[in-house]
């Protein structure tokens, strides 16, 4: 029996650990067998090439990392021509992250991606904080998320994950809109908004000023959002935000996560996803439980 087996809306996974979009590349194969991951999530692809944001783009601040990469990527045509085939021979399911500026563009991208049979699902990025009008404008408006998801869900039978922004008043209403539009699962959270200033000179540490904030500090924020969304939705959750170890994963599973992404913590330890898989396996074995035994079963709340 595989105690780590889990499922999103449509795909079964050998284990619940994957990698957050933008924090993983095939270079990670230098450190571990990528097929041991529950799934592979690509860096976000956009309709056209993006050269990315001006530098400096990153800054380590208290308990976390600010990033303002700006979705640097070669664009979907280049991705389909040269890059996607590099993922072809992995047995871990491939989930492609993509983003665009209009519903039509999202739909056109999905139609192109649908031609690749070894892409098993999509993480639709409607929540990147680091690009003007790209994606994020969608992620903060429930009505648009509903329209977008409805359009995309008619175009694919594959896993359709809507990745949500935490930078909203009510993430539950956005998550519900994704569910009603036909998403098979939701992913949360993308980065929070953050900033850092050199106190000596007053200069912003990030060229664009405001950046995405990830790492240890965002975990409690992510956890309560996963908890609230789990209470309100019936589709599964791919959870992420500040996960450092298997104990963090267990917290997210208790809050309602079916699957988990490791992001920023990989920059401290590139082998971390595999260590977490092993630790989770040992924990489940020692306690004679499966993910489904504890999923969403947080208690002690009045």
């Amino acid at each position: 029996m595989n105690r780590l087996a889990t499922k999103l809306g449509k795909i079964n996974f050998n284990n619940p650990i994957t990698v957050a979009s933008g924090t993983f590349g095939l270079e990670c194969a230098n450190f571990y067998n990528i097929n041991k991951l529950g799934a592979i999530v690509t860096k976000t692809i956009t309709p056209e090439e993006k050269i990315g944001n001006p530098t400096p783009r990153i800054y380590e601040t208290e308990c976390g990392l600010l990033n303002s990469i700006g979705l640097q990527n070669p664009g979907i045509d280049e991705f389909l021509k040269y890059h996607v085939k590099e993922y072809k021979n992995f047995s871990a399911p491939l989930l492609v992250s993509f983003s665009a500026s209009t519903i039509d563009e999202f739909a056109e991208m999905l139609i192109k991606l649908e031609k690749i049979d070894y892409i098993k699902g999509y993480e639709v990025n409607v929540s990147c904080p680091n690009v003007e009008n790209e994606g994020l404008a969608f992620g903060i408006d429930a009505k648009i998320v509903y329209e977008l998801t409805k359009r995309l869900s008619k175009l694919t039978e594959k896993e359709l994950i809507i990745k949500l922004s935490p930078n909203v008043t009510d993430i539950v209403s956005i998550a519900k809109a994704a569910e009603e539009g036909g998403a098979s699962s939701v992913a949360l959270i993308n980065t929070l908004l953050g900033m850092a200033i050199d106190w000596k000179t007053g200069k912003s540490m990030i060229k664009r000023g405001v950046a995405g904030y990830s790492g240890t500090a965002v975990k409690p924020v992510a956890l309560q959002m996963v908890y609230k969304v789990y209470q309100a939705l019936s589709i599964p959750i791919l959870a992420m935000g500040g996960i450092q170890n298997y104990k963090d994963c267990l917290e997210f599973i208790y809050a309602g996560a079916s699957m988990l992404s490791i992001g920023t913590a990989q920059f401290c330890d590139p082998c971390l996803p595999i260590k977490i898989i092993n630790d989770l396996h040992n924990h489940f074995t020692q306690n004679n439980i499966n993910i489904s035994d504890i999923k969403g079963k947080v208690w002690g709340i009045d």
């Binding site: 590349g25 230098n30 990315g52 530098t55 380590e60 308990c63 330890d269």
Partner: protein, 246 residues
Amino acid sequence: MKDHIGIVVNNKKINELYNVISVQIENANLGTPGQFYELKVKYSQRMRIPISIYNITDNVVEFMVKIVGDGTKELTQLKEKDTIMALGPLGNPFTPPQADQNCLILSGGVGYAPFYYFKKHYPKANITWFHGGANRNEVFEADRIFTNDGSIGIKGFVTADLHEYLQNNKVDRILTCGPRIMMKNIANIALPFVKDIECSLEEYMACGIGVCYGCAVKVKTAKGLVYKTVCKDGAIFQGSEVIWDE
């Protein structure tokens, strides 16, 4: 490239700003001049810090560390037998010097580090080395030294007499590492004389392996302006390709 578990065998304080940390690392001799490791004190929750190879002897890699913040301070406080995670060697080395080439090294502050090993690694190379720093704590042995405060050597930046030097001497290659503004000025002054200017760049870095695009540097290519990564595409870039005013 591997995430090595290193053992600190020595952590020598050179002055109030600088340490040389000697770390026993498996396959230490794989590193070449210009490459670096991403270091992390084991059990620290801090991100890794990219540090150039300063020297390699037997199975020990030496790192010259300048205290610039809490992370580098943490490194200088390591004790003998402490464990350190060392991801590397990373990045590309400086191009090996050819026998008939006159190489001019221009370093600033902790930018001294990679050239110590470069000079040792290529003992037959024709090398002239200018080094500059803010004050006497920032200068180390070189053919000509400069300090901003004039406390030792020539008063001024390392570029103070560069134009004149290039007019009067045959230089085939320049290799440089230091503050960005220093390398920008070197490129501006020297490009009319020397085409081949290898600059070792630094940026805030996260993954170290080319996946996150955090440590980006804007460069000219045949395709136009693009961002390359210091960690994987660099850290060595040609002075003529870097967009210095980014």
